[in-house]
Amino acid sequence: MPADLPDIVAEAPSDPPESALAQQFRRFRRNRLAMAGVLVLTLIVLACFLGPYAFPFTGADADFDAIGQGIDLFSAHPFGTDDFGRDLLVRVLEGGRVSLTIGFLGALTAGVIGVLYGAIAGYAGGRTDAWMMRAVEVLYGFPYVILVILLSLLLGGGNLALFAAIVFTLWLTPAVIVRAQAQALSRREFVEAARAGGMTGAQIVVTHIVPNTLSVAIVYGSLLVPEVILAESFLSFLGIGIKEPQASWGNLIQIGTSAMTTDLRLLLLPATLLATVLFCLNFIADGLRDAFDPNDR
C-alpha cells in the first residue's frame, strides 16, 4: 500500500475481514520473541491445568509428618512441602489455575470495559465526555475498602465477589488513557472523512477509534494480569479472596514473603512463575501491537 493514502482505504468496512486477519496473524508469527512468549505461556497453562493429575495427592492433602520439607527433586515432593505438609509444586500449579483464570478474565473484562468507555467518552466529547469522566472520578474517589466490604456482603466472600472487587475499579485507568487517545484520534482527518462519509458515531468508534487505541490498551492490559493476581493477596486481608485450602499465587507469594528469610523456596517458585508469565505477556503484547498496527506497512 502506498504510504500516504488515508487509512480509511485500508479500513473500509467493505474489506473482507479474513485476509486482513490472516495477514496480521502471519505478521505475529514472524515475531520470534512473541512466539516464544506464547509457547512458554502455553506450557505454563498446560502445567497448571494438567500437571496436578500427575501426582497421587492434591494440594489440599496435608501430611503432618512431612512439614516443611526442602527441595528433593527425586522424592515424592520434588519442591518440598509447606507448613501443613502439603506438596508445594502441586499447590503452585493448582494455584496457577485459579490465578491465571481470574488474572486473564479480570484484565480482559477491565480492558474491554475501559476501552469502550474511554473511546466513547473521548470521541463524543462535550457534555457526554464531561459526565462520563466525572463518574470515573467519583468511582476513583470512593473508598475502595468499603466497596470491597460491601461487595463481600452482597456476593459472599467467594470468587465472584473477588472478581467483582478487582474489576470494579480496574477499568478506570484504561478508560482514562483510552479517552485521551480517542480525543486525539477524533480530530484526525480520516475520522472527519468517515463522518463525512456518513458513518454513525458507533460505527466510527468501533471501526476507527478502538482499533487505533488497541496497542496501548493491550500493552496496559498485559501489565494488569499480574496486578490482578497480586490484588487477591491484598483483598484476603479484607475477607474476600480464595478460600483455604484452595491455593492461589497471590496467597502463596504472600506466605512465601513472610517466610523469606528462613525458607526462600516457598516464595521463589510462585514468584518466578508469575514473573515469567508477566514477561511472556509483555512480548506477546508487543507482538500483537506490531501485528495489528494499522499504520504498519
Binding site: 496435608a62 503432618f64 466472600g157 475477607g239 483455604e244 485450602p245 513472610s258 528462613t262
Partner: protein, 532 residues
C-alpha cells in the same frame, strides 16, 4: 480554615525539619519499645488499648503499681486495709506526693479521675471496670445518667491522703484494677484550663508517673523522660523511653536487628522457630491474659446434640496444632479459665488425661452416635478473623476434623468488624472465639460466660448463674477460687465450646536490657528496667 492551614504549615515545617536534620539512632540511654498500631488515645481515662496502656503506666501511677513480673506493689498508696466483708478498701497515700509540675497530689485527684471516667460526656469505655468488672457503689447510676451527683459514687476521699473504694459486693480482684490503666488521677487545674489537650500536648502535660511525656508525633512515636518529681525517681534507671508505632511486624523485626528497637511488640509467626534457635535469650514468648476457644452455635440443630459438641472438642490434637501448625507460641489448654492465676485450681475437660488417640477414638464413636458418618458427613463453616494466627488455627482444625471424623468444614476469614457482626447475627456454625481478661484471674473469664452477661451464646444454664452468684459474694481469694472452680466444672461439662489455648505475648528483648520479665497481665513498666 486557619486552624487547618496552621496545622498544614506546621506539619510541613516539621517534616522538612526532620528531613533535613540528622538525628542519631537510639543509644543506651533511650529505651525503644514497639507499640504496634498507633495508640487510640493518650487520655488516661479514655484509652482502652492495652499497648497504649504501657505509655499510660509510665506516665501515670495508680493506687497500686505492677512490678516487673506483674505482681501487685504499693504505688501511690503505701498500704491499704480491707473490710471484713471484703466490700470496702481503704488506701493510704504516701506522704509528700506531687505531680510532675510540683503541685501536691491529693486523694481527691483519684476520685476526680474515676468521676471523669464514668461521666457520660467523656464517652469512655472504661466505666466498664467500675460497673462490670467490679460493682463500685453508685457507678452504674452515674454511667447511665440516672444521677449526676458525684456524691453518690462509692469512691471517696475523706482526707487528702485517703481513698476509700466502696463496692456493692466483694471483689478480691479490685486491687488488679487499681493500677494506672483504670485508676489514673486527674490533675484538676490542667484539665479545667485546657481540657483533653492537657493529656496530649507535651507543653501542657502533667502526670504523676515515673516518666513525663515530652514529645508526641502521631503515627510515629511518643517520647518520655524521667520525672524528677516522682516519689521513687531515685530508682528509675533509664532516662528516656520512646514508644514507636510499629504497624508491620516484619519491619519491626528488621528494626530490632538494626538496633533501632529494644523491645518489640510482636514477632513474625514463621520466624519464631528460626529466631529461637538463633537468639534464644532474646525471644520471650509467655502466656498473656487471653484465651482462645471455638464456640458452637447452639441455635443450630447439629450443635444441640452434646455428643457432637464433645466429638468436635475431642478430635482436635491441641499439641500438634499449636506446636506444629500454628507455631505462634500459644499454650494448649483443656480448660477455660485455668492457667492465669497460680492459686486457682480449676477443672479441665474430662478427657484431658487421655492420649490423643484415645480422644480421637472416643470422638469418632460420639460422632457416629450423633448420626454422622461417611455417607452423612457434617458440613459446617468456621468463621475466623483474617489475622494469620487465626486462619492458620482454623485451617489446622478443619484439617483435623476432616482427617479424624470426615467433617467438611470451610474456613471463612472475615475482617474484624464483620467477624464481630457475624457473631451477633448468628450466621455461623463454629466461631473462632477469644477473650481478653481484665486481670490474670479466672473470674474475669467466667463472668463473661454468664448467659446474663453475653446472650450471644444462646446458652441456658441456671446452674452456672447460681454457681457464679455463689462465688460473687465470697470476700477472699481462696474461697472464691474454689467456688469459681465449681462453676467452671458446670461450664466445661456442657461443651458449649472447645477450649483450645492460652494466647501468648511474643516479644524480642535486647539482651542488654535488665528488668524485663514475663508478666501475665501484660504490664512491663519502664521504671524497673535498666541497661547493663
Amino acid at each position: 480554615m486557619r486552624h487547618a492551614f496552621r496545622h498544614l504549615t506546621g506539619g510541613l515545617v516539621l517534616a522538612a525539619g526532620l528531613t533535613l536534620g540528622q538525628t542519631a539512632l537510639a543509644q543506651d540511654t533511650v529505651l525503644d519499645r514497639g507499640v504496634g498500631s498507633e495508640w487510640s488515645s493518650l487520655d488516661p481515662h479514655i484509652n482502652f488499648d492495652a499497648a497504649a496502656g504501657w505509655i499510660q503506666m509510665d506516665a501515670y501511677e495508680g493506687l497500686i503499681t505492677f512490678g516487673p513480673s506483674g505482681q501487685i506493689l504499693p504505688g501511690a498508696a503505701e498500704r491499704w486495709d480491707v473490710s471484713a466483708d471484703g466490700t470496702t478498701y481503704t488506701f493510704h497515700l504516701r506522704d509528700g506526693l506531687v505531680w510532675s509540675n510540683g503541685d501536691p497530689l491529693v486523694a481527691q485527684d483519684y476520685v476526680d479521675g474515676v468521676l471523669r471516667t464514668l461521666d457520660p460526656a467523656t464517652g469512655s469505655e472504661k466505666g466498664y471496670y467500675f460497673t462490670s468488672t467490679v460493682q463500685v457503689a453508685g457507678a452504674a447510676g452515674l454511667v447511665d445518667g440516672t444521677t449526676t451527683d458525684p456524691a453518690t459514687l462509692g469512691v471517696t476521699a475523706p482526707d487528702d491522703r485517703t481513698v476509700v473504694v466502696q463496692m456493692e459486693s466483694p471483689a478480691p480482684h479490685l486491687l488488679d484494677l487499681m493500677g494506672a490503666f483504670a485508676m489514673s488521677p486527674l490533675h484538676g487545674p490542667s484539665f479545667a484550663a485546657h481540657g483533653p489537650s492537657a493529656f496530649i500536648d507535651p507543653a501542657l502535660f502533667v502526670g504523676n508517673g515515673a516518666y513525663v511525656i515530652t514529645q508526641v508525633v502521631p503515627q510515629s512515636h511518643v517520647r518520655l523522660e524521667r520525672n524528677p518529681n516522682y516519689w521513687d525517681a531515685a530508682n528509675v534507671a533509664i532516662p528516656s523511653v520512646m514508644y514507636h508505632v510499629t504497624e508491620d511486624v516484619a519491619t519491626e523485626l528488621l528494626r530490632y536487628r538494626a538496633g533501632e528497637i529494644d523491645v518489640t511488640y510482636d514477632i513474625p509467626l514463621n520466624q519464631i522457630p528460626a529466631l529461637t534457635e538463633e537468639m534464644p535469650d532474646q525471644v520471650r514468648v509467655s502466656p498473656a491474659t487471653e484465651v482462645v476457644y471455638y464456640s458452637f452455635n447452639l441455635t443450630r440443630a447439629p450443635f444441640q446434640d452434646i455428643r457432637l459438641r464433645r466429638a468436635l472438642t475431642l478430635a482436635i490434637d491441641r499439641d500438634t496444632l499449636e506446636s506444629r501448625i500454628v507455631r505462634g507460641g500459644s499454650i494448649p489448654s483443656y480448660s477455660y479459665a485455668g492457667g492465669f492465676d497460680p492459686t486457682y485450681d480449676g477443672p479441665v475437660i474430662a478427657e484431658a488425661t487421655m492420649t490423643q488417640d484415645e480422644r480421637n477414638a472416643l470422638a469418632q464413636q460420639l460422632y457416629a452416635e450423633a448420626g454422622y458418618g461417611p455417607d452423612n458427613p457434617l458440613v459446617i463453616n468456621i468463621v475466623a478473623t483474617v489475622a494469620e494466627i487465626s486462619t492458620r488455627r482454623a485451617q489446622g482444625i478443619a484439617l483435623m476434623w476432616q482427617q479424624t471424623l470426615g467433617v467438611q468444614a470451610t474456613v471463612e476469614p472475615q475482617e474484624r468488624k464483620a467477624w464481630l457482626d457475624t457473631f451477633y447475627a448468628g450466621t455461623w456454625d463454629v466461631f473462632s472465639d477469644n477473650l481478653v481478661g481484665d486481670f490474670a484471674g479466672a473470674e474475669t473469664f467466667l463472668a463473661y460466660m454468664r448467659p446474663s452477661a453475653e446472650a450471644g451464646y444462646n446458652w441456658v444454664s441456671p446452674g452456672f448463674e447460681t454457681a457464679m452468684d455463689a462465688a460473687a459474694v465470697l470476700p477472699d481469694r481462696p474461697s472464691r477460687n474454689a467456688a469459681l472452680a465449681l462453676a467452671e466444672r458446670i461450664l466445661l461439662d456442657d461443651y458449649i465450646f472447645a477450649p483450645l489455648a492460652i494466647e501468648p505475648q511474643r516479644r524480642l528483648v535486647n539482651p542488654a536490657l535488665r528488668g524485663y520479665e514475663d508478666s501475665p497481665a501484660g504490664y512491663n513498666n519502664s521504671q524497673w528496667m535498666s541497661f547493663q
